[in-house]
Structure formats: structure tokens, C-alpha cells
């Protein structure tokens, strides 16, 4: 059993009177790709934001790399922050900087590299995420949505983090781009040994990339693989994965 890289115990998130997470527990193992699914408004993104420290939980403990991120001081938090990378939904690239400069932001912040090495690494990351070379000099507004996501991933990977958070990485992409993105995630995960925490709606992405799936239902989390979740009696989970079974059957008969 691999040691957990993220360990959430008794997490409670509530806004006003509406409780999103009620004593939720979750463990993410080192080196796995975990997909998080759930209906709209079940707090998938809130869960992600809570883990990376953008949202303070009402109660509960969140340990990342063995450190309780809800209690760290700024200095210790920085040390944790440089070990993870976050890809936001639309890339969240800094719009007044080129892609290369965006990738260099964390490098500049955390290392003392020469400019020429930073340029080399920026170009390297651009090529690693499958963007054409000339994209490095473009501004985010000159890129398509899919390219912005790749560029955002390149920035998230700039410091070679151990853990990457992806928020809806394939939402809004055409199926071909989405497939390519799935392959990219899988490929990078294997070659870099990443742990991936991925919030997604896309069942194809789940199938292509994830090792385990965490389903947010009834303010708690149910973890399993596609094979086990297909047989889950919970109505939402059943409905969500029923399509998969149908499709799998189709693929077999065809």
C-alpha cells in the first residue's frame, strides 16, 4: 500500500446554511491518478480549492505531503506550494505575459536560475505539453482554449511538482483535443511519476486516465474504480456510470 500524499479527515465545508461536505474523508495515494466526479453544486471545485488552501474549511484536517496545510505558517506553506502545481479551469494564465514568461513565473519565484536556462526550460515545458514551439512567444489571448489549458499545465509543471491538481482539464475541448489531453496527462504522469488529483465531468477522461475515482454524493465521498462503481446501488452513481456500461457493451458487440 503506497503512502498517502493527500489525507483528508473529517472535512466540513459549508456556506451559510448549505453544507457541501459533511465529515468527508479521502486519501490520495502517491503516484495515482484520482478522478473526482459529482453532480453540479456538490463541491468538487470547492474540495480542490480547500486542499490547495484557497478556501478555509469549517473543520477537518487536510494533510498534504504529511503536513497539515490548514495550520502551516506562510514560510512552510511556500515549501509545500512549490511541490504542487495547479491547473485552473481556463488555464488562469497571466494575461499580460507570454506563455514562456508565464512558465518562468514560478521559476523566478523559487529558484535562482540564469535567464538563459529559464528560457530553455520554458521552451522544454512548452514542447512537453505538446504545444508548437512558437506558442512560447504568444500571449494567452492569442491562444485557443485547448492551447491555454496546455500552457496552464506547462506552468503548473514548471517546478516539476510531485502533485498536480487539474480542475476540469477537458471541459470545453473537442473530443480529439480532449483525448490528446488525456494521453498527455497519462504520459506525463508516467514519465514524471506525478500524482494527479483531477476534477472532471468527462467520463472518457475518467476511463482513459484515472486509477481510482472519487464520487461526491450526499456530502461525502465514495471511492472506487469504474468496474466497482458501475455496480454501486446509489442512484446518482448508477445513472452516471450506466452510460459507460452501455458503451462498453456496444464496443464488445461491435
Amino acid at each position: 500500500m503506497a503512502d498517502p500524499i493527500i489525507e483528508i479527515t473529517g472535512l466540513v465545508n459549508a456556506f451559510g446554511n448549505s453544507v457541501l461536505h459533511d465529515h468527508l474523508d479521502l486519501e490520495v495515494r502517491r503516484g495515482e491518478v484520482l478522478g473526482v466526479v459529482g453532480g453540479s453544486g456538490t463541491g468538487k471545485s470547492v474540495l480542490l480549492r480547500t486542499i490547495v488552501g484557497l478556501n478555509r474549511p469549517r473543520s477537518g484536517r487536510i494533510r498534504v505531503f504529511g503536513e497539515d496545510v490548514t495550520e502551516l505558517d506562510a514560510e512552510a506553506m511556500r515549501a509545500v506550494q512549490m511541490r504542487w502545481g495547479v491547473l485552473f479551469q481556463d488555464g488562469a494564465l497571466f494575461s499580460n505575459q507570454t506563455v514562456a514568461e508565464n512558465i518562468q513565473v514560478p521559476l523566478r519565484e523559487y529558484t535562482r536560475m540564469s535567464q538563459s536556462l529559464m528560457n530553455e526550460i520554458a521552451v522544454l515545458k512548452v514542447s512537453m505539453v505538446g504545444l508548437p514551439d512558437d506558442a512560447a512567444n504568444k500571449y494567452p489571448s492569442q491562444l485557443s482554449g485547448g492551447m491555454r489549458k496546455r500552457a496552464g499545465l506547462a506552468r503548473a509543471l514548471a517546478l516539476d511538482p510531485e502533485l498536480v491538481f487539474l480542475d476540469e482539464p477537458t471541459a470545453g475541448l473537442d473530443p480529439i483535443s480532449a483525448n490528446q489531453f488525456d494521453e498527455l496527462v497519462r504520459d506525463l504522469q508516467q514519465s514524471l511519476g506525478l500524482t494527479v488529483f483531477m476534477v472532471t465531468h468527462d467520463i472518457d477522461t475518467l476511463r482513459a486516465t484515472t486509477d481510482r475515482i472519487a464520487v461526491l454524493v450526499d456530502r461525502k465521498i465514495k471511492v472506487g474504480t469504474i468496474e466497482t462503481l458501475v455496480h454501486d446501488p446509489h442512484p446518482w452513481i448508477h445513472e452516471y456510470f450506466a452510460g459507460v456500461r452501455g458503451r462498453a457493451a456496444l464496443a464488445q458487440s461491435g
Binding site: 514560510e75 511556500r78 515549501a79 512549490m82 511541490r83 494575461s95 499580460n96 514562456a100 521559476l107 519565484e109 523559487y110 529558484t111 535562482r112 536560475m113 540564469s114 536556462l117 528560457n119 530553455e120 526550460i121 520554458a122 521552451v123 522544454l124 515545458k125 514542447s127 512537453m128 505538446g130 514551439d133 512558437d134 512560447a136 512567444n137 494567452p140 489571448s141 509543471l157 517546478l159 516539476d160 504520459d187 506525463l188 508516467q190 514519465s191 514524471l192 511519476g193
Partner: protein, 386 residues
């Protein structure tokens, strides 16, 4: 104080050494070749001279960790050896790191693209050129917009029941006019006080204190009242127009209106233009009035001029023409402010940063134009002898 670079988790420090065996150069590397050590390793492998070696080997068997920055340094060294005509022999790594190296080798094809340097003379020339083209472009767009709004304005005046959206129009009057009253009242009052104080101080030397009333009255009503109102409204409402329309543009709401067959100019610009043109004269009059009140209060306390004599003196100082000269500017200023605000809003591009930039620009431009037109009015009135 721990600097960020030192805070990098470095378990085993990275090292590299070269071993020369006749014409074979072997680069032996070990430890954690990770991004935290990359700055130092970059210099070490960059300074590595191949000398007379014919064959270059890289031995990474002792590596304990390798990330893409470290792998890149090794890959770069290998490519440099190839480029300098050396034969590259063994390139050995622990098997766990091979997928990473293969990914990099596959994706990153030499020669890498070059990132341009900024702040060069060429870049300066480019900026000047781009700025010039941009200026002409904006001028052209402004002309187009002014014409468009003029046509719509005439249509609206001719057939208001078909072209004017009453609810939006009334809302704009409230937004730009009524909600501005508190701040304008206070500012007008204070300006009246200031004018009276300064005037009284100077005029007392000639024993002409009573003319302080004339000074306050004429300055406030003909010039300062309308000017300060226009400037405040440009800051309050002009900026709001740009931000509101700009945000709609970012959200693709304008495109949605377009596809629904709604005329954007008629729906968004006209209510603002007409709302402000109607509201500004009224709030100008209100500012004038508050200014006169402020002047009166100051005259009473500073010069002991009581209310009846203040009013009598005011009556002799102000003419209806004088008041109208001030008020007639208001709709013109309103037209300018509303147009600039809406125009800049429609120019917003589909990113959030441009909303902020153009909002600032809209305020600066409309205040600038208001003052230019005010000067124009002064020249016109002096020629007409009003």
C-alpha cells in the same frame, strides 16, 4: 531567514565530475538532479569543455532523483557533444528515469526556438510603429462611432416612441443624476465656501468685500459649477459605462444581443446618452445652487453679509443669460462623456485586463475633452460677446 532556493528539498546534493580516459570523456553524475540544483549544475555542465575527446559518455547510474530540469541539462550536454562533432557513446540512467528522458527527447526537437529579447532598439521601433498605427486606427473608429451615434440620436429624437427604451432611460437618469446628488451637493457647497473665502481675502484690500458675492455667483454659475459636475460625472458615470459595457463584451453578452436582433447602440448607448444629456443640466443647476449657498454661508461668517443683502447683490450680479451660459454647456459635456464611456466600453477586447485599462482611459479622455470643449465655449462666448 531561509531563502526559497535553499528551501528546496535537497536530500542528496547533486554532483558531477568528468573522467578522461585517453580520447573518451565520461561525465559521471549523481545525487538529486532536480530543479533546486539546476542553477548550479547549469554552470558546471555549460563550462564542461570536451577538449580533444572523440567520444563522450554520460553515466547517470548514481542518480538518486531526476526531474525534467535535471534531465534537460543532461540532454543538452549530449546534444552539444553531438553538435560539436563528438561521438556520443553510452548514456546510462537508472531505468526509472528512462521514460522521462524519452519523453523529453521525443517532444523537444533541436534546435529549440529562440525567445526574443525584449527592450531592444528594434523592439522600441516596433512599439512606436504599432502605437502610430493604433492611433490612426482609433481615430478612424471614433469617427465611425460618432457618426453612428449621431444617426441614432436623430432617429431617436424623431421617433422617440420607437427608438428610446424608456425603462433603461429612466434608470440611467436615476443612476447618473439622482444618485450623484449627495456628492455634488457637498462639493458645490465646499467650492462656494472656498471661492468666497479667497475672494473676500483679496477684495477686502480694496474695500470691495461686497463684490465677493459677484465673484462667487458668476464663477460658480458660469464656469465652475458645470465643470466640476462634468468632471465628477465623468469619473462616476463615464467609467461605469465603460466597465459595464466592457464586462458585457467580455461575457459575450453583446454578441448574444446581436444574434437576438437587438441593436446594441439603441439598447445600451442611447439610454445612456439621453439619460445623461437630460440629467446633467439638472444636476449642474443643483451644484450651482449649492455653491451659492456655500458662498452665502461664508460671506455671512467672514464678511458679515446677511441673507437679504447677499440675495440682493446676487440678483444684480447674475443675469438669466449668465445662468444659461453655464447650463447650455451641460448637455454638450454629457454627450461627450456618454459617448466616450460607451465607445471605450465597446472597444474592450475579450480579456479582463482590457476592461480596467479602457475604463481608466475613458475617464482621462472624457475629462480632457470636457476641458477642451469648455475652453472652446469660452472663446465662442467671448467672440459673441455674451
Amino acid at each position: 531567514m531561509v531563502s526559497p532556493a535553499d528551501a528546496m528539498p535537497l536530500d542528496a546534493p547533486a554532483w558531477c565530475r568528468e573522467e578522461r580516459d585517453r580520447d573518451v570523456l565520461r561525465l559521471v553524475v549523481g545525487g538529486d538532479w532536480v530543479i533546486g540544483a539546476a542553477a548550479r549544475l547549469d554552470h558546471e555542465v555549460r563550462d564542461l569543455a570536451f577538449g580533444n575527446a572523440r567520444r563522450v559518455e554520460i553515466d547517470g547510474a548514481a542518480l538518486s532523483r531526476l526531474d525534467s530540469a535535471g534531465a534537460w541539462l543532461l540532454l543538452r550536454t549530449k546534444r552539444r557533444a553531438e553538435a560539436e562533432g563528438r561521438e556520443v557513446g553510452a548514456f546510462s540512467l537508472p531505468s526509472g528515469f528512462l521514460p522521462l528522458l524519452h519523453t523529453l527527447e521525443r517532444d523537444h526537437t533541436a534546435p529549440p526556438c529562440v525567445l526574443p529579447r525584449r527592450h531592444t532598439f528594434e523592439a522600441l521601433l516596433q512599439r512606436i510603429g504599432r502605437g502610430t498605427v493604433h492611433a490612426f486606427d482609433s481615430g478612424y473608429q471614433i469617427l465611425g462611432f460618432v457618426g453612428l451615434v449621431a444617426v441614432e440620436t436623430v432617429q431617436t429624437i424623431v421617433k422617440p416612441w420607437r427608438h428610446l427604451r424608456l425603462a433603461a432611460f429612466a434608470h440611467q437618469i436615476e443612476e447618473t443624476g439622482i444618485t450623484a446628488l449627495p456628492i455634488l451637493g457637498l462639493l458645490g457647497f465646499l467650492l462656494g465656501v472656498v471661492l468666497a473665502y479667497q475672494g473676500a481675502d483679496q477684495l477686502r484690500r480694496f474695500g470691495a468685500e461686497i463684490y465677493t458675492v459677484n465673484l462667487v455667483g458668476v464663477a460658480m454659475v458660469r464656469e465652475i459649477g458645470v465643470l466640476i459636475t462634468a468632471i465628477i460625472v465623468a469619473g462616476r458615470s463615464g467609467s461605469a459605462f465603460t466597465a459595464y459595457i466592457g464586462t458585457m463584451k467580455v461575457n459575450e453578452e453583446l454578441d448574444a444581443m446581436e444574434t437576438l436582433g437587438i441593436n446594441v447602440i439603441e439598447a445600451l448607448v442611447m439610454p445612456r446618452v439621453f439619460g445623461l444629456v437630460i440629467a446633467l443640466p439638472f444636476i449642474t443647476f443643483y451644484t450651482d445652487f449649492m455653491g451659492l449657498v456655500g458662498g452665502g454661508v461664508m460671506c455671512y461668517f467672514d464678511l458679515g453679509i446677511n441673507v437679504p443683502s447677499y440675495l440682493r447683490q446676487l440678483q444684480s450680479a447674475l443675469t438669466v443669460t449668465g445662468v444659461l451660459v453655464g447650463l447650455v454647456k451641460a448637455p454638450v459635456f454629457a454627450y461627450i462623456i456618454a459617448q466616450v464611456g460607451c465607445f471605450e466600453g465597446l472597444r474592450v477586447q475579450r480579456n479582463a485586463a482590457s476592461v480596467g485599462r479602457l475604463t481608466t482611459q475613458s475617464v482621462v479622455e472624457s475629462i480632457f475633452l470636457v476641458i477642451v470643449f469648455d475652453a472652446g465655449f469660452s472663446i465662442l462666448f467671448s467672440i459673441l460677446g455674451i
